[in-house]
Amino acid sequence: MPSSRRNRTILIVIIIVCISLVTLYVRESDTGPLHKIQNFFLDLLSPISNFFSKIFKPVKDGIVNLFHLPSLSKEKRELQKEVATLRRQAGESRELEAQVEELKKLLHWSETNAQLDTVGADIVGQSPSNWQRLMIVNKGSSSGVKKYMSVVTEEGLTGRIISVGSRSSVVQLITDSRSGIGARDLRNRETGIIEGRNEDTMRFVPMNDEAVMQVGDVMVTSGLGGTSPPGIVIGKVTKVKKRAAGLARLVEVKPFVRFSRLDKVLIIITPEPESVILKEAQ
């Protein structure tokens, strides 16, 4: 039948176009024509996303608050318990020593921060996909932004730049399942990788299998891997679960950053990510 033959032809053409595009895209570099097309449209659509984002912000905030009510009440109870524990421990000299140590670390962190050159950016959009945790910001290569630069807020590490247009960029959040950050436990100095899981919490994989991890340990960037400067706070260990049959332990880390309430972020311009510097030198 002519119409069924026509339909079959259309379908075959569509499938061939899709497969060709996928193959071309995967094989080309980040500066290839298909990537350039994506970056062009990203720049074009980011003001539109920003416009709608501002319009719907009050509605979104209302929904977010509604859904956070049970967790806020739980969080309040947990915080009250934590306050009681801290009060009890405040009299102990060992804790005072630990606090002094912590202050030294914070002092070191603030000194390190003073050397960081950052650029402020507004969040203008979010990932339209259910498989990714991404955000779009309104700063791009024209502001000095480059791929793999770290994105932070005053609460801690937020993510890193994975795609750059001239006036906008895509930020991969630390909770995205493709995110992996070199991290260090502030208490025992153990290093490892914090991996996103597309959930509200992340997973810490220590380099040392025998590392003693404790709930409440604060995790910071280790600087290993060359994308994030060392000492940026990431989150707190909320669960350490041993798994049977020799499988890896689950060390769950809750990020300090509240992603649902983010409005503005800082992109660390200098020091530049080492991987970019090495690539440019080649």
């Binding site: 379908l11 996928v22 895209y25 097309i37 994506q38 959009g125 339209p128 259910n130 498989w131 899981r197």
Partner: protein, 175 residues
């Protein structure tokens, strides 16, 4: 398909695309949002046929691929396959009830998200997101069902197809 109908579908795809990139991310629940392109493609597949649905899925998916930081062509491919299969499956049902697109959207959200992941897996992409049925696929399918409850009546309102017309005329006592 009439010219007006074609224009209506093209406009609907464009509107779904704009809503998908600009509005839907603001209404994420538990980290997921509805896939309006899939919903529109399945509704077109139900009303017009599998190939028409596949074309809509391809065009909508391609628009999403162009603006999103993802492998170009994967969204178009998965939306095409899902809409085409939804249209094929629809042929087995002789009903115009809204339950049919609801059921098809629910089923083919699973398929579309699975095709998406399997294609990335075949391309050797590392660090794929976990295949989270309860956390991602099921909530997304339910969210899409909510969307189809709005989209399908609109499409019916603007698409009094010949098929339906002849069916009504053929009813006993229908005039």
């Amino acid at each position: 398909m009439s010219r007006n109908r074609q224009l209506f579908i093209a406009g609907a795809v464009l509107l779904a695309f704009i809503l998908q990139i600009a509005v839907m991310p603001q209404f994420k629940l538990f980290g997921v949002q509805p896939d309006l392109i899939l919903v529109v493609a399945v509704v077109v597949a139900v009303q017009e046929g599998p190939v028409e649905g596949a074309i809509v899925g391809f065009c909508g998916g391609m628009l999403m691929d162009i603006v999103g930081p993802q492998v170009m062509g994967i969204g178009a491919f998965s939306e095409t396959v899902a809409a085409f299969m939804a249209g094929m499956l629809k042929e087995f049902f002789m009903t115009y009830s809204i339950l049919l697109p609801v059921l098809l959207v629910f089923i083919f959200t699973f398929l579309e998200l699975s095709v998406n992941q399997v294609t990335l897996l075949m391309l050797g992409q590392e660090n794929l997101p976990p295949f989270n049925v309860l956390g991602v696929i099921l909530p997304a399918a339910l969210y899409n069902v909510l969307a189809v409850l709005v989209v399908y009546p609109v499409f019916r309102r603007f698409s009094f197809t010949q098929k339906e017309e002849s069916l009504i005329l053929a009813k006993p006592g229908g005039g």
